[in-house]
Subunit: 122 residues, 2 copies
């Protein structure tokens, strides 16, 4: 699998809403940073963020508009959809950058407008 394939499979793992399947993509010591928030620097912190997001969603889709790999890096432009169990439909425009090592994610940074998320969560 190329790094592009891996990031596509990572999106599929989110769509499955299976926390263990998602977590398996992270290398030990991985850092997941939603840029408007503090970086998540431990397995427990990443798990503690992603778990609730999966749990409150009944459908998740990372729709990739453009995606480019270069060496260890994958950069993409996406719209992320979260249809929540409470009926709200969240749609966030995102660019992400992933650094991989040995087929696993060591760094993931997502850039988006926090207000866009908050407006829809409110």
């Amino acid at each position: 699998m190329t790094n592009l394939d891996i990031i596509n499979a990572f999106g599929d793992a989110w769509a499955s809403r299976d926390l263990e399947r998602v977590m398996a993509f992270f290398a030990p010591g991985a850092v997941y940073h939603n840029i408007p928030m503090e970086p998540l620097t431990t397995d427990a912190a990443i798990r503690g963020f992603i778990g609730p997001f999966l749990g409150m969603s009944e459908r998740i889709e990372f729709k990739v508009h453009h995606q480019v790999a270069n060496g260890a890096l994958v950069l993409n432009e996406r719209t992320d959809y979260f249809d929540l169990k409470n009926g709200k439909k969240i749609e966030i425009r995102v660019m992400g950058i992933y650094e991989l090592d040995g087929g696993r994610i060591v760094r993931w940074r997502d850039y988006f407008d926090m207000k866009e998320l908050e407006r829809q969560m409110a």
Copy 2:
């Protein structure tokens, strides 16, 4: 010049704070979209946004951390610095995607957290 070279030169044009030099990189009909704001879809709108930004700055730097090209597209991760004439120093974390045609920018989308900008402008 490759598309990567052109986007680097575009950053240099911002650093020069010369509006005509910046505007020369846009193709006719270009769309410049700061994702948290409405897209700028005319030459006059783009000029009317960029001009004041250049005018109120005494130093501008687009510091590119990672940049990858693929066909017509360039994607990058940057920190943009604007040292304003009023003494404020603005620092914004950004990912951008540029679509080029014939060496000019036809689409530019920048992803960032509007609160990060507003906090520093306040």
